[in-house]
Amino acid sequence: MAEIVAFEGKRNSRLFVAWGTAAIRDGEALINTTRQISAEFDPAEFQMLVSEGVLTELAAPIGISEEDAANPLVVLEIDVAEGFETELYLDRNRITTVLASSISGTRHCYVFASHEVFRQVANTLISQFLHCLLYVEKWKEGHDQLLRSAIALDAHHPVVNALRATRSKSPDAFLPIAKNNLRTEEARSVFESAWAAFTHDDLRYVLKYKGGLVRDEGGIQIGDVAKLMRLLQSAHGVLASSIARLHPFLDRPPETQLYELKAASAEFHFTVPPVSLGERLARYMELQMFEQALDGHVPSDGPAHPALVEAVRQIAAPTEETTVLQRLGAAALRPVRSAIEVTDASEEWSEPLTVLGYQSGLVRDTEQIEVNLFPGHRILVSSTDNGSGDRPIGLDFLQTSRDFLFRPALYKIQRWRSESRERFFLQEVVVMQPGAKGTATAIHSSIVPGAFVCNLSLRVARKTTTVLTFGNASLSGVDAQAVGDARKWMLAFAEICRELELTDTRHARLVPHGFKMPNLYEVLWAVAELGGKAHQTEVVQTINARFSKSALVNNTRREVLRNKALLQFAKTDSQVFVLTQEGRRYLGACNRITRRTQ
């Protein structure tokens, strides 16, 4: 077995985290896992690299399998400092992508399969750090360390950069540097919001009416004002949920604050009070979102919520004769641009899918629930909105039961997608109590991560406390009370799904946004094309010619190591790949998917 002995980069006592490409010692070789380049392991040279800060040596080596060692591994080290245990805690129940780990004193080390997987985890940690930093009452030295740690995890994060600039000794001088750390237009937009929320004094949003509702002599009737306030309250509920969902480091913003009412000129002034940075940002972003809604743009994280559409429609055009103007911050008053557009040509709803899974968590005071549908695939769904603004059916147990986690249940979900986003909405949940029966219409795909095999009709029944039947197969241990036990039956369930998917490949698939067949498919296809057995160089050339890629031998061999049931090295020559019978079946299913989706 190989051992991770170090990672690229230098530990820094002014930070709580350090991370980098893993360095593996495998016998007499030292391997850089990102580049899969090895050199002879020379203890003296290794110590020199450590002392020069090129590598950080782990307190104790972490053993890793040959299969995992073929990945571009990343090591994250967290020094769990006193006073920041919550922020620096990596919840293994929620983060299931840790390949290996070790603890030495206060230092916790985690290994991830790639930079991409690491980035997702880094984002979760940054959210934990930011939640602390944005809502802290008294800033201490440790908070500077936490902010630096966030930068070390992602130097391009917009809110981290805005906060770093705010905390600068010379914010105006640091501002252009922070902006230069941003890499996308979306990041720049979030940065501007955060910078304004953290530093500007006037964050006032003004809504002004002219003509129509407004009396000729000036003023506005109290009934119209009351109605307007109710509509604003209604919009707030939807927008606040969007803010919390889009920015997990922010709490749901409190109710919109009316600061000034100029009745004679029918002007309503809303403001962001001088509270914590987190609340200021959440409130300011909500006002921005409201301003955009009055210009016809709904929050982009889901379909237009009916309550929001109706509220905005009435606020933006209470009568035909009324002109509505708005401004945010120092901008000048201007007419609202248009009523909200309910339908977007790119929007699309899937057919409802009824899938087996279990609930693994509650998020934001029960506003969202986390559902596990397959090993490594969880979705967050709203417990208050089924996509039409109504509460999903069957969620009463959240209020009446304390043991709602890990119980097998049938989830009826629907996918909403627009040009750039997708989101699942829960329609109904049926907890599979002993004696319960139901029908699943979809299973998670074993071939394409995040995809579903649809149009099925599989009987599901919980015959006893511990056993559940799914089609013709049985699952035991479904009375799990803990995440580890629930994962066990989910793994067994995944095997059943895989067999179902490979046995009959005719069914339709619902594939995720930006869907791309995994690299494994290309290797399987190339080996099959070359007669089921081929030298690795030929395989790589065939892939590159067919898929216009620049695949490399190392990456291609990695797929063989990872998928031993589908591909094997020839016994006589380890540079020759052989397609197994299972591999042929798998490729058949893959071909079916590509034909259906291309």
Partner: protein, 234 residues
Amino acid sequence: MPNYRWFHAFRRNSPKEVLDVLRHGPKVHPNPKCDTRRHKGTLGIDPSCVYAYLGRTLEAFGDVAMVLPTNAVKGKVSPFDTGGLVNKIDPINGLTEGEKRTFLNAFTWPISKMPSLLQVHPTDKKAQVLKYLDGISPPSAAGPSVLWPNAKATSAIWNAKNDWRAWTWEVRSPEQVDASKLEQWSCSTTLYTDILDYVDSLGHSASWFGDIAARYVHGGVSDLVVQWKARQAA
């Protein structure tokens, strides 16, 4: 033709020194006792030079790496890491100092010859270019003496005992390299936080750093090399 870049990796003792290199360009290592300068003495390279490698670099050469276009560096080139000749590259490491110098001189050309040299190694065949960028040994020859027989030196350095350093193109520039052409750079993520703190302490006088920050790639030297592999092959 591939979009090759020169990679220069270095290490310095403070954020200020790192920024000095990124801002004004790499120049000869300030410490005469550093490995690079000692090796050059052995090989008789005079004057001391700045070193860069075509297509990639090694994190062991430094925790900061710069990516430069091919026209940003002037000097002489060789199809191996000259530092490696001293004690890494088999069998040259076992030769006398005089023999090492002879070998180096036989495979040294002015950088102006680079387009024609690349036609010979790694050639412009896509598969060969990918192998070169991936650090895999050239399959076609036992060493540069096979590809350039007129060089009057023979040595099979492209063998299984050696690594990437035995077949990488290296440029040695006696002049300070032009940093205005810096395309991207990276360093360890912890060092970057120190750099930001240092820049912050300079206040308005550090406005020049904005342009350097815009070229920073988060993730470290290895990640920078991997990201550029695909871009160079395209």
